[in-house]
């Protein structure tokens, strides 16, 4: 094991942290280990005034160097302030107190970056019933951008069209998102075990941005339920540097919550 070996969760935290900027505002949902790690890694390196709030618990800028669920009471002792939940629901608008970004997981994501956490199959008798929507509709609709972290990458989880749309991405592509009255925004990157994906600026179709080490383009095509755009030969995902991993492990995730996950 070299000093840049890392788990998939660590890789995702580092890839996200690199894209977060100083002064941005973020909301972090449930199931939040990678999200918290990304925000606190950015704060510990290039974005010290990135501001984040725990969606469920309301704790702001928790800086404990241990990754905990964002709903946990223990986070209070390490926070600057608490927001209550109804106040937070009001706060998610897009003109005054917009959030710059949110990071979400999903059961399905489609070619236009719409996401589904509700069900596979028809809603009234689904083949698989997921947990539901919580804040996903508001965050994907109203944050300035969002990131999606997918635990799996196969034809079921990357279908042509989500079975249930509860997190609007680019809707039907093109200008359909803004045509239907949503603000500019939408998904910026999708991270999966196979690579990193973004969206072509005009058609808003998902495209390959980079492939994780050892992943072949052919494999990605085979495991995706729609035609992914590819421009030239995709590069290999830039893996975490020794410095990034050192900061992550020494200042953010000191108990190794992310490291224990599956290898990248």
């Amino acid at each position: 094991m070299t000093d840049t070996d890392c788990s998939m969760a660590e890789l995702h935290a580092v890839l996200l942290a690199r894209d977060l900027r100083n002064g941005e505002k973020a909301i972090v949902g449930t199931n939040s280990d990678v999200q918290v790690a990304a925000c606190n890694l950015a704060r510990a390196s290039h974005a010290p005034t990135l501001w984040w709030v725990s969606g469920p618990g309301g704790m702001i800028n928790c800086n404990e160097p241990v990754i905990r669920s964002t709903a946990r009471t223990e986070n209070i002792a390490w926070s600057e302030a608490m927001m209550d939940l109804p106040q937070m629901v009001d706060f998610i608008d897009w003109k005054l107190h917009f959030f710059d970004f949110a990071i979400l997981g999903a059961i399905q994501i489609d070619r236009y970056g719409n996401i589904n956490t509700v069900c596979v199959g028809p809603h009234d008798k689904p083949r698989l019933r997921g947990p539901g929507t919580v804040g996903i509709s508001a965050l994907t609709a109203l944050a300035r951008r969002f990131y999606v972290v997918m635990a799996r990458h196969d034809r079921g989880s990357f279908p042509e069209r989500v079975d249930f749309l509860n997190g609007p991405g680019f809707l039907d592509g093109g200008t359909s998102r803004t045509d239907r009255g949503l603000p500019e925004g939408g998904p910026k990157f999708v991270l999966s075990p196979l690579g990193v994906f973004d969206f072509e600026p005009v058609s808003k179709r998902m495209r390959v941005k980079s492939l994780n080490p050892g992943v072949a383009l052919e494999q990605v095509h085979k495991q995706t339920g729609f035609e992914l755009l590819v421009e030239e030969t995709p590069p290999v995902t830039a893996m975490p540097t020794a410095e990034e991993l050192k900061t992550l492990r020494a200042s953010v995730d000191t108990t190794g919550v992310l490291r224990e996950r599956r290898r990248a």
Binding site: T73, G132, T133, V134, S137
Partner: protein, 288 residues
């Protein structure tokens, strides 16, 4: 005018078919002692309005108490999907009202304000398609943002768990309140189990922790570890072993019946339940 009641007295008067709110958040402060008592009393055809939850709505569904449930989020997170909720949805054996955060918040606030409905932005999701009763289009003026109206969510009774209260019904939270306070404002009757009863002097000393003033509360019940197997505001953590065992037991009708018999039916009062989980002890003091 003490509001301190026994678990059994506190739940008197809940009818079959009642609309029951459940507070907490996933593995935090699920009102489990109250939920188990509802199951012991064999309540039927309940209409649940759970805050984002886990075992509280799932166990009520598994025990056959539920006809309909709202769903904002019902999940077992690292342990997978909520077993009974999932099965009930996939077999269409209960009716599910799909909700998102803005709709439940808007509906609860409308109820709290005694308005027939509230307004939320239209997020262009599939939710209005599957739940047209909740998401109703609003006639729009030119240039106006697209909105939906969401009807008031009236709760007949709300079950909550918090850390401490006095006999007057002032309830203190050491941790986040999630949707608990908003739901309390929308409920006809608010029943709160707490890990301990304290004096009014203790309540006044740390009065910034009183998130439910007594005027919001109809009954308080002393139930140490009443949120178990979920956590309670820094007093105790979620019991992962128990949660995993619950999910496993939920795999078959027989094993779930055994689970219910052990922890619900066979534990006639809350003290029996505490014995079954090994009589854990609360920390002496954990306020901040």
């Amino acid at each position: 005018m003490s509001k301190l009641k026994t678990l059994s007295d506190a739940l008197d008067g809940i009818e079959d078919g009642a609309t029951v709110g459940l507070g907490g958040w996933i593995f935090n402060s699920q009102p489990m002692a109250l939920v188990r008592e509802l199951i012991r009393r064999k309540k039927r055809n309940l209409r649940l309005v759970p805050a984002p939850g886990s075992i509280a709505p799932d166990m009520l569904i598994g025990a056959g108490c539920v006809a309909e449930t709202g769903c904002v989020f019902i999940s077992f997170e690292q342990f997978g999907l909520a077993p009974h909720f999932r099965r009930a949805a996939e077999t269409a054996s209960i009716k599910i009202h799909e909700l998102d955060g803005p709709a439940i918040a808007g509906g609860l606030r409308a109820a709290a304000c005694d308005l027939p409905y509230g307004l939320i932005p239209d997020m262009c999701t599939d939710l209005p398609r599957v739940n047209p009763q909740t998401y109703q289009p609003v006639p729009r003026q030119p240039g106006e943002r697209a909105m939906l109206k969401v009807p008031a969510i009236h709760l007949d009774v709300l079950l909550l768990h918090a850390q401490q209260a006095d006999e007057l019904g002032n309830v203190q939270y050491f941790g986040p309140v999630f949707f608990d306070v908003l739901m309390a404002q929308a409920a006809k009757k608010v029943i709160v189990s707490v890990d301990r009863i304290v004096s009014n002097e203790t309540i006044r000393r740390d009065n910034h922790l009183t998130k439910l003033p007594s005027a919001f509360v109809h009954a308080v019940v002393e139930a140490p570890f009443g949120a178990h197997p979920t956590s309670s505001g820094g007093l105790y953590e979620a019991d992962d072993t128990h949660l995993a065992a619950y999910v496993k037991a939920s795999g078959s009708t027989e094993s779930f019946a055994t689970y219910l018999d052990t922890y619900v039916g066979g534990a006639a009062v809350h003290a029996d339940y505490c014995k079954r989980i090994g009589n854990p002890r609360l920390p002496e003091q954990a306020t901040r």
